[in-house]
Symmetry: C2
Subunit: 341 residues, 2 copies
Amino acid sequence: MLLTVGELARRCGLTVRALHHYDAIGLLRPSSRSAAGYRLYGQADVERLHRIQALRQLGLPLADIGAALSGPQRPLAEVVERQIAQIDRQAAEAARLRERLVRLRAQLAAGQSPDLADWLDTLELMTMYEKYFTPEELKTLPLHTDPDVLPEWSALVTAVRAAMERGATPDDPDAQLLALRWMDLVGRGTGDNPAFLMRLRAMNENEPGLRERSGLTPGLERFVEQAMISARLAIFARYLQPHEMERMRAHYGKQMHAWPELIAELRGALADRVPANDPRVQAMARRWMELFRAYAGDDPATHARIREAYAKEPELRSGSAVDDALLGYVREALASSGARH
Amino acid sequence: MLLTVGELARRCGLTVRALHHYDAIGLLRPSSRSAAGYRLYGQADVERLHRIQALRQLGLPLADIGAALSGPQRPLAEVVERQIAQIDRQAAEAARLRERLVRLRAQLAAGQSPDLADWLDTLELMTMYEKYFTPEELKTLPLHTDPDVLPEWSALVTAVRAAMERGATPDDPDAQLLALRWMDLVGRGTGDNPAFLMRLRAMNENEPGLRERSGLTPGLERFVEQAMISARLAIFARYLQPHEMERMRAHYGKQMHAWPELIAELRGALADRVPANDPRVQAMARRWMELFRAYAGDDPATHARIREAYAKEPELRSGSAVDDALLGYVREALASSGARH
DNA sequence: GCTAAGGGCTCACGTTACGTGAGGGTCAAG
DNA sequence: CTTGACCCTCACGTAACGTGAGCCCTTAGC
């Protein structure tokens, strides 16, 4: 059973214009059109709309919703679960605000004038009730697709800080464990979307105040980064030979900040169904090989061993937003451009 | 104790930019500035901000909030009371949505696929939870300052329709009672703001579909209007002489649709602190006298009797948004223009 | 078959409520 | 005196649609 745009709008309490807009920005495209060109929405579309609305009600901008929905999808059951948690949390905020208002009412009824702090406290609670995430939370972390990640994130930051304070080095095993957990959390928190990762970095560079409040100080970030490199090199060491490991140690972390942007671009092209033989995609794939060769060298045998490590050790890719589809895309682009790989 | 804009923003969870914006549009002006030009907000400002936020959370646009707050103010206790009612209503919506989501979750957990209607129902409940008023409610009636008015309004429309169906005429006492209640409700619903009344009329003229759904058919509106005229003439009859009543009967209702616009303009000028001797205000005042004389004639004795009736019978002014301050303003403008009154 | 009403299409300008950045002044602590 | 945080005004830009125009499509009733 397919719905026209007006029917869907009516049924959901949205407007036709909003649905047009979602189509125009690629957020929710109807799965088919009638012979007359009418948009026709089916069950899968409605399910996707449910995801969209759930994220919208968290306060996420549409562009971010699109980004979040471009990665691997969580089961709908999880989406629904999180909505229930959201409602429960908002019920708690509502109870607090209500209590506050009842108190205010009592004061006013008794002919007392509430003081400034009373009004300000009330206003604050009103704002908290209105928005699921504070502007700060929305900005501190683009980790909105899973609100459960926030407390986990804080706990991890605390754990990393504690490790630093007791003098741990990035090579310590527990530091490495923390780093792996960090990457896993980043992956989960960003829906495996590198655009969010880039934004996190930009935010950290530009806003010292927010940086301090989130706990993501440059020192902590560097520490985690080094620990992550160290952890991954330890994994590679199980696959590579000593002279190969020497090169890895020298080069592995050198251009790691260039990867997220490239990955984001490639994922965009893949999502836009740009053919792998498109010159732009080919250029990106070549750039990919440059970055790869910067730490892997040119020996095909080394490449094969590294690939084996990547295939067998999920932790090497955790948080990097590189999946098999993307790898296939890069391979196809390279094959069509005649580049060696 | 005065707050700077940043302090207020932080305390309330708003942004400095929003407060700048509210200042710029005249919605919330700081009661003072420091010598350096810093905005300084005091208790009265914060109380006003509370009113603004309460209305904002009903979904009212800022322009409408400004209009609503330009009239006589309801006690803060009533504002708070209505907020409590809002929270309670939203709690009911939350419970419905939660129940729906729990059911959906159970289906998904059991490996069943919810059907299209399930998803659509859920999406509808999500929208209802998100917004206090539906777009239709917001548009049907600009009676947002008191959500309790909506059900009362519906009941009144029903009562008027019933009276019409049993053949009542506008001169029947019960029809007149309904009309007086109508005007009272319009006054309360619009915060005694004629701009809303004008919008109600425009909406009724332009949107037949909405008209039908709201029950405000042209026939019903005419009936109420005639009943209101009849009710008011009955009140005037207690103060005027027979020949004066003859004139009133002939002319009283003739230009009654011109009054709301004039009143709105005068109230705007008064709110903007335009001096009463300003030529524009004087022109408005003269227009006021024209309209007045159209039903009252030129006899000062008649005028005095009509004024006495207005002073003693609140029902003659109910819903008209004319208060003592406005009358004083008009009088002052007339005095400064040397016009007879 | 025709007509009318309701619904659809695309296009494009406009609105609302700020967000963001620029350039410069103010305030308080070290 | 310097520095960092905060304030000012100005002004362009943004996100998420709202609104209207001109035209096509669908369906029910005559």
